[in-house]
Amino acid sequence: MFVAWRDLRFAKGRFALIGAVIVLITLLVGMLSGLTAGLARENVSAITGLPADRIAFDGAEGDGGPSFSDSAVTGSQWREWARAPGVESAEPLGIATTKAGAGDGASTAVSVFGVRPGGGLGPVPEGVGDDSAVLSEGAAEALGADEGDSVTLASRELTVAAVRGDASFSHTPVVWTPLGAWQDIAPPSGPSGGDGGGEAATVIALTTDGGPDTDAAVADTDERAGTTTVTKADSLAAIGSYTSENGSLQLMRGFLFAISALVIGAFFTVWTIQRGPDVAVLKALGASTGTLLRDALGQALVLLVGGTAAGTAAAAALGAAVSGSDVPFVLTPGTVLAPAAVMVALGALGAALSVRRITSVDPLTALGSAR
């Protein structure tokens, strides 16, 4: 690194320029990662937080895949699942988006999650009546309501039994209600709507025993009950807003990674070509190709790690500044450090491919007058 360090200092302007590019791309990637995670949390935290491992949707598997907004399961489907082999618990879950209001005129869009009181799926305890609701913190804050206050959900008045958790779904805070209240607020529609049984809902949340035959047993029950069951992780794709949002954000992030690898590769390609004559001289003087490659790669890594560290620090600082506010931003090692590691790895790959041409520099060209 003797020459590499001195080149870094000597060609300050050039290296500062590419360093700044690395800092900015890292900052952008870091912010985007935090934002993606933040948006995803607002979109799916109510589902990921469910104590279940699979979700059963109504209907046979179609082209579009299951969807929370189209699904409606009946009481008989639920009963089929409740006695299915390999299933430890099956809980109906009703999901509807509606407008919530509070006494003082505050109103907000919420997702109403109807569950069986005491069923364990949501924070609605046993014995709570159909005129009660449990607000998530987000809903309580938006409505300015607290325990004992009354709120209206789709013009139905409910008493706040408790404020629990910060679940949110499709960018709206969740209000948990007993299944009966949910059925009043959002009457299940479609062919299965008529089938009462008290357990009509949107989907069925399943906890399976996770045995080796689970998949086969689930497929069997799907057939009998006329449902489509996917894992909880796969069910996130059934939230319309999540797939489109997450998909485009991940695409942006992927492009940024690719762009940074290309920019770094291009920079080091030009730089390596420029110092070709120096490399020829060093080889003629007896430097081994391995040493020269190591130094060139070391130089690239200094730049990469320095730039990425600065960019990551900036992203973390900015993220910390905005995460208190309305901007959904998740600041964790996963959202900030992981993209930094990917940046360094991809940048090193780009640099490695470009400094490779050191191998083919002919020391003979150092002789003679052509320089």
């Binding site: 003797f2 060609a11 060093l282 003629a284 003087l285 007896g286 430097a287 190709t289 002789l367």
Partner: protein, 227 residues
């Protein structure tokens, strides 16, 4: 300390055939000896140096540097031979833009796997020997052409080479400075005991040499031994 070329033939691809750049050349230079090589342009002088510097492999014949035969050595071993036993003074100074004069010399320690910092006293000593004691901290763009050429010479001597190969060191200099550089090389050759080959265009500079070899069309002609 010596350089030996024995029956060396070198050809380059030339269209459909081959161009013979060196034709059965034999040359022996003892340690402390300075052999000047002159000849018209295109006669094969640089090719001779390139073969001696192990930068190009001859078609046939043998090369021995400091008693070690170089045929069949792997590229890594050849690089090691170059950094430890061969000093090359390039036609152009070929200095690295980001390094000071002293650092140009310290690089030789670094590529040999020794800490450059500890090579600094030796570097300063050599710079003093070539009359650049005051210029040690200057970068190439702050040096004159003659000063750069002297750094180039000092660098070639940094690892105490057995063989010193010098390719037209005066082509970028005026006559007076050119003569000074050739005198310096002659003095260092005797002082350090290197086996030196000096390629030059300028016959006026050959006075400092022990003997003058002429190359013509790839053939080397040595004079009848002089004193």
């Amino acid at each position: 300390m010596s350089l030996e070329l024995n029956d060396v033939t070198l050809t380059y691809p030339d269209g459909d055939g081959r161009l013979t750049a060196l034709d059965r050349v034999s040359l022996e230079v003892p340690g402390g000896g300075l052999t000047a090589v002159v000849g018209p342009s295109g006669s094969g002088k640089s090719s001779l140096l390139a073969v001696a510097a192990t930068l190009i492999r001859p078609d046939s014949g043998s090369v021995a540097v400091d008693g070690e035969r170089v045929e069949g050595l792997a590229p890594g071993r050849l690089a090691e031979l170059r950094r430890s036993r061969i000093g090359i003074v390039f036609q152009q100074p070929n200095l690295l833009a980001s390094l000071t004069a002293a650092e140009q010399l310290q690089v030789m320690a670094q590529i040999s796997g020794r800490p450059p910092r500890r090579a600094r006293p030796r570097a300063l000593e050599l710079l003093e020997a070539v009359g650049l004691a005051d210029q040690a901290e200057r970068r190439p763009h702050q040096l004159s052409g003659g000063q750069r050429q002297r750094v180039n010479i000092a660098r070639a001597l940094m690892n105490d080479p057995a063989v010193l190969l010098v390719d037209e060191p005066t082509s970028a200099l005026d006559h007076e400075r050119g003569a000074a550089v050739v005198d310096l090389i002659a003095r260092l050759t005797r002082g350090q005991g290197t086996a030196t080959v000096l390629v030059t265009h300028d016959r006026a500079h050959v006075g400092a040499a022990d003997r003058v070899a002429e190359v013509f069309d790839g053939r080397l002609r040595l004079p009848a031994a002089t004193g």
